[in-house]
């Protein structure tokens, strides 16, 4: 020993062991650090940097909808919305506010000293006050925006429910994913646990009130600014509102061409509140399916400025929906420095394109006015001799006017209107609503048997197929099957008219007289397949308008008719538009327009000038004689005393001409289409059936389909279809409406003669 004791080896070994342990720890930590910084560094940096800038989206302007004359039917106007943050909609704000109220109440000094548990209890006690504060806030917002408080609360509950559903869905998916991963890694099911976190939808504001003007928006902003606890929760985003300047109109109805009982030299004035609402449609907030179809944030993380976020406005129905893509436009976008608010990058919004539709909004209003019951045409009247509805019962129906040359829809009026339909639907159960279809837009979606208005089309079909010769006459014997006078009869073969018959008839006269036997014969010659094909050629079963709106109609199903008890009968009645075929008033007008063009189909459109696209005409190839004969038949139907569209017979036996507008030529055909009683359930206006008696023959819809042109031109310019549901006789009920439609076309400048009085309107 030389003074210093050498440290013993075993002690040093233990120190060394300690040193090695210490060296190992940073190695483990460093491995993790490399994973975070090198392997996942870019991802982490991107996440960290995402807060440096704040993105803000600039609203776009939706395109306007113009009518054929350039009148603005729908436009975006500056407006504001109220959006509440989900924290306020859910309960997070309430919790936070309760905590800060508790803190205020106790004083920050005392609060500081409390343990977490004590703070929770204090906050729970303050929750009542926080809830009262929130209720007061909602009341103030409702007041400032003139919104019904219950409505506002319902909307908030709606949002809450929506997010809750979404959260369940997302958590479910996340849990499944985590479970898959857990099991893939070979771990046991009982070791699995899943903690669900908040989803993105819980971290943003939701629009609860929109369509606010500047003043209301200012009031809401003041409410938000009044309390710092609220200001983060309430946003007043720039949310343009959609206005429809022509929705309300005052229309003058010329009653000088009406049937004598309701005729007047002074016009009627009708106030309309929802002109073209069915067709123009409206906006609704985008929902999950819209967002999924075109998301604003795509799966790859990119932003689609034309895409949808939940709550965006989107066209809900009608033209707003059909032309959504054109009208929508693209958002603009600003990226700002989160700290300074300075602008870093900006993309201006792209306004939506304007859409010019083929409608004439003024004509549309005139026609809608004709369907109002107070005007007197769309009501059961004594001269209708309606056997199943009592006089005075308002009639639903539709009027369609097409431009023959272009196929453009000039007007398409339906009753009930969309808003009337909503009102009615409220009072119906599901079964009744299904039978009556209160929300169905009759003009383009109402589905009806065509009845006799198809007779000219049957002629053209048979002629084109070479099954009837020019000038060939067919004898009307009153009933089609020999020895069976009670089946397949002509309408004239009735005890009321001493079982008359039409005798030998050529094609034009057959149309003018609307002989059933003639067209039974043609239908038999055509056979099921050809009839089906020809209905298809005239547009039945086809989408007629852009965006697929409206009913396609249904061509007869040969297999079903063959399978029925009497296929031969099923075939012949198709020749007069009954049994197994259905279409809409728009189909009827379109088919007549095709006929007027000599059998050339150019389709129909809602766009003025077809939006620049040229239609591809399809020539159905009918022989000229057949088209001429059909038109001649339609003209004689109106002009000859024996024609079914010639006059109106009153209950007192007097008659008056149906078509009285000067300076025009009318080609037309009435139709009385049998239907079921389904649409009349619970209807107090139905004429009661005497006890013990069977119900009378099925009720009928009243059709009139026709063409009209200026007298000096001499060929059809516009195709018109009028339908009155359960109107009874086509000639008596729908005919006078068609006459008024022609008068409206004159007043709207489409036909000459507006300034001239009706022709022998007073004749009897």
């Amino acid at each position: 020993m030389d003074g210093h004791v050498a440290p013993p080896n075993r002690y040093l070994v233990r120190l060394a062991l300690l040193a090695v342990l210490m060296l190992c720890v940073p190695v483990v930590l460093a491995a993790r650090l490399v994973d975070l910084t090198i392997d996942r560094g870019d991802e982490m940096l991107a996440r960290a940097r995402s807060v440096l800038t704040a993105e803000e989206f600039l609203p776009t302007r939706r395109g306007s909808i113009l009518d054929r004359d350039g009148r603005i039917l729908a436009r975006d106007e500056p407006g504001w919305a109220v959006a509440l943050h989900y924290d306020l909609i859910g309960d997070r704000w309430l919790d936070r506010r309760a905590r800060s109220l508790a803190k205020e109440g106790l004083g920050a000094d005392v609060w500081e000293t409390l343990s977490a548990g004590d703070r929770r209890s204090a906050a729970a006690a303050a929750r009542i006050d926080a809830a009262a504060e929130r209720a007061g806030l909602l009341r103030a917002i409702a007041e400032a925006t003139a919104t019904d408080l219950a409505d506002l609360q319902a909307r908030i509950a709606d949002r809450r429910a929506f997010v809750a559903r979404l959260r369940d869905h997302v958590h479910h998916a996340q849990r499944d994913l985590a479970l898959d991963r857990h099991l893939d890694e070979g771990r046991r099911l009982k070791d699995f646990s899943f903690a669900a976190g908040p989803i993105r939808e819980e971290q943003r504001p939701y629009v609860v009130i929109d369509d606010l003007d500047d003043e209301a928006a200012l009031l809401v902003r003041r409410i938000a600014d009044a309390n710092p606890a609220w200001s983060e929760m309430i946003r007043v985003p720039d949310a343009r509102r959609r206005t429809y300047p022509w929705r309300e109109q005052q229309v003058e109805v010329d009653r000088s061409v009406f049937p004598r009982a309701i005729r007047s030299d002074t016009p009627a004035y009708v106030a309309l509140e929802h002109v073209a609402d069915h067709l123009l449609g409206g906006m609704r907030p985008a929902q999950q399916p819209d967002v999924e179809a075109r998301p604003f944030r795509r799966g790859d993380g990119e932003t689609d400025l034309r895409g949808y976020r939940d709550g965006d406005r989107t066209g809900g129905r009608g033209i707003e929906r059909i032309f959504e893509r054109e009208l929508r436009g693209a958002r603009g976008w600003v990226r700002r420095d989160a700290a300074t608010g300075g602008e870093i990058e900006r993309v201006e919004h792209a306004p939506g394109r304007d859409v010019r539709v083929s409608l004439d909004i003024e004509l549309q209003a005139r026609l809608e006015a004709l369907l109002r019951p107070e005007v007197g045409l769309a009501v059961v009247q004594p001269w209708h001799e309606n056997p199943f509805l009592r006089t005075g019962r308002p009639l639903d129906g539709a009027i369609v006017v097409l431009d023959v040359e272009t196929g453009e829809v000039l007007a398409s009026a339906s009753r009930p209107t969309f808003f009337e339909g909503i009102e009615r639907a409220r009072e119906m159960d599901d079964a009744e609503a299904w039978a009556k279809g209160p929300l169905v837009e009759r003009a383009i979606s109402g589905f009806y048997d065509p009845g006799s208005i198809v007779k000219p089309l049957t002629l053209v079909a048979a002629a084109t197929e070479g099954l009837v010769a020019p000038g060939e006459e067919i004898e009307c014997t009153g009933h089609f099957y020999e020895g069976a006078p009670n089946s397949a009869r002509c309408w004239i073969f009735r005890p009321r008219w001493d079982f008359q018959t039409h005798g030998d008839l050529g094609p034009s006269e057959a149309i003018a007289r609307s002989c059933n036997i003639y067209f039974y014969e043609l239908a038999e010659r055509l056979g099921l397949e050809r009839i089906e094909r020809w209905y298809g050629r005239f547009g039945v079963g086809r989408e007629l308008l852009e965006g697929g709106i409206g009913h396609r109609g249904a061509t007869p199903d040969p297999a079903r008719i063959r399978a029925s008890g009497s296929p031969a009968y099923g075939t012949i009645i198709l020749g007069i538009g009954q049994g197994g075929v259905g279409w809409t008033p728009l189909h009827a007008a379109a088919a007549y327009a095709t006929l007027a063009r000599g059998g050339v189909d150019v389709g129909t459109t809602l766009l003025a000038g077809r939006g620049g696209r040229r239609p591809e005409p399809v020539d159905l190839g009918p022989p000229a004689w057949a088209v001429d004969a059909a038109l001649e038949g339609l003209r004689r139907s109106v002009s000859e005393r024996y024609g079914t569209s010639h006059h109106l017979r009153h209950p007192d036996g007097t008659i008056e001409p149906l078509f009285t507008c000067p300076s025009v030529v009318v080609w037309g055909k009435t139709g009385t289409a049998q239907t079921s009683w389904g649409g009349l359930v619970n209807d107090p206006w139905v004429v009661p059936t005497p006890e013990g008696e069977a119900r009378p023959a099925p009720p009928t819809h009243a059709w009139f389909t026709g063409l009209v042109g200026p007298e000096d031109v001499g060929r059809p310019k516009y195709a018109i279809a009028v339908l009155l549901e359960y109107g009874g006789s086509g000639g008596r009920a729908a005919g006078p409406v068609a006459n008024a439609v022609i008068r409206a076309l004159q007043h709207a400048g489409y036909l000459p003669g507006a300034d001239l009085p009706p022709t022998d309107g007073g004749a009897s």
Binding site: H4, T37, I38, G41, S193, G197
Partner: protein, 417 residues
């Protein structure tokens, strides 16, 4: 030794010789200062870490940088002052020191103490207001504990037997219990690594320590992973463990917005630093706008890596290793068992604290409230760690003494008779 003097000459002889013997012993115990000591490695590393800390704090809030620099001056002066009297004085006074510190630990818990003196924060009673600043007794308790345990182990040999470990453990649980009560679970847990490393170098049997560690791990598993946890842990502790499990084991972000928010933000900012770091200006914005909680205190390591990159993280760890291994070298080159045990204990505490703090920042350990020694903002903690540094320097500067008893030394590694 004094006992043997008494037997030589009786009471009168003792009276006569005692002053001489005392003088001679003092001469023997007088410092033989040596300036080349591994303790300077510790001092250098501590200084560099403190500078990194100041710069990082400046990244988050320049105002705090100046204050931390001020704290550093005080801390360094404190450390220098600690170096002057020989650490062996502590051997004589450790009982008093321990009592004073225990008194302070009890004091903060006494409900009757007015809040002007012990001001609870977030429900925790950890600080004593001493006018100029708040004093955190648990920081001093770490030092007092190491010194007391060293003094105990230096004079006893029971810990070579399994049940003999009961006393050191009991000594440990007293301050731990008081600190857990504050509550400050994180700080209290630091006593355990200090205890184990000091027992290890003092000569406890490895298999005894291994058994205790095994039992401890079992206990932790029972507490954390079985239904018993609902009885034994606070709800927020269970949440934190769950958050950690999701974050580290499942690697999902299920808790990223809730209880795991702090850990998630810290990990993100660490990862965002990459290898080279994002630089001062960007780091300032990222830390600020991402709302990293406790960015100057518990989460300061995330700021370090974010600003200077993973390389700065590695350098930081190297500096801690430098400090801790330096302290172990001091222990290795000192033959005085008391000094050895203190150096090892301090090394263990700093190392454990560093591991827990950086480990939770990078997401390999659950979040617990613990700051990063030397680097985190705060006067009490900085002064306390520098006092520990001063103690290590003190030990390092004083060379081994002739005639010292070899407790906890070579021969004691043999089984006690």
């Amino acid at each position: 030794m004094s006992g043997s003097a008494a037997t030589v000459g009786g009471a009168s002889a003792r009276d006569r010789y005692a002053p001489t013997i005392r003088t001679n012993m003092r001469a023997l115990e007088a410092p033989t200062l040596r300036f080349w000591s591994p303790a300077w490695i510790c001092a250098g590393c501590a200084l560099l870490l403190s500078i990194i800390g100041i710069a990082s704090i400046g990244t988050t809030e320049p105002g705090y940088m100046t204050r931390q620099a001020g704290f550093l001056c005080v801390a360094v002066m404190g450390a220098a002052a600690t170096c002057v009297p020989s650490y062996r004085l502590l051997e004589r006074w450790h009982g008093v020191i321990a009592l004073v510190v225990l008194g302070m630990l009890v004091f903060v818990l006494v409900p009757a103490v007015p809040e002007s003196i012990v001001r609870p924060r977030n429900g925790a009673r950890r600080w004593i207001n001493i006018g100029v600043t708040d004093l955190q007794p648990s920081e001093l308790a770490k030092i007092a504990y190491v010194v007391s345990l060293a003094a105990y182990l230096r004079t006893h040999r029971h810990y070579r037997r399994f049940w003999g470990l009961a006393v050191p453990f009991a000594l440990t649980f007293v301050p731990m219990g008081l600190i857990v009560k504050e509550p400050d679970l994180g700080t209290s847990l630091l006593f355990l690594p200090a205890l184990f490393t000091m027992l290890l170098v003092a000569g406890s049997r490895l298999r005894h320590l291994a058994i205790i560690v095994a039992l401890g791990v079992l206990a932790v598993v029972v507490v954390v992973a079985t239904p018993a946890r609902t009885l034994l842990l606070e709800p927020h502790q269970i949440d934190r463990i769950d958050a950690f499990y999701h974050q580290f084991v499942l690697q999902d972000d299920a808790h990223a917005q809730g209880i795991g928010y702090q850990g998630d933000k810290a990990m993100m900012l660490v990862g965002a630093g990459g290898w080279d770091g994002v630089g001062a200006e960007m780091a300032e914005r990222l830390v600020d706008l991402n709302h990293l909680p406790e960015e100057r205190n518990d989460m300061v390591f995330a700021v370090v890596v974010n600003r200077w990159g993973a390389r700065a993280g590695v350098v930081t760890w190297i500096l801690y290793l430098g400090f801790c291994l330096g302290a172990l070298l001091v222990a290795a080159t000192t033959s005085d068992p008391f000094g050895r045990l203190i150096a090892v204990g301090i090394s263990a505490i700093v190392f454990a604290q560093m591991t827990v703090n950086t480990g939770m920042t990078i997401g390999v350990l659950p979040i617990t409230g613990m700051n990063l020694p030397f680097v985190s903002y705060g006067g009490s903690s900085l002064v306390a760690t520098w006092l520990m540094t001063g103690l290590v320097i003190n030990i390092g500067l004083r060379s081994a003494q002739f005639l010292r008893r070899d407790a906890a030394d070579f021969d004691t590694f043999e089984d006690p008779a």
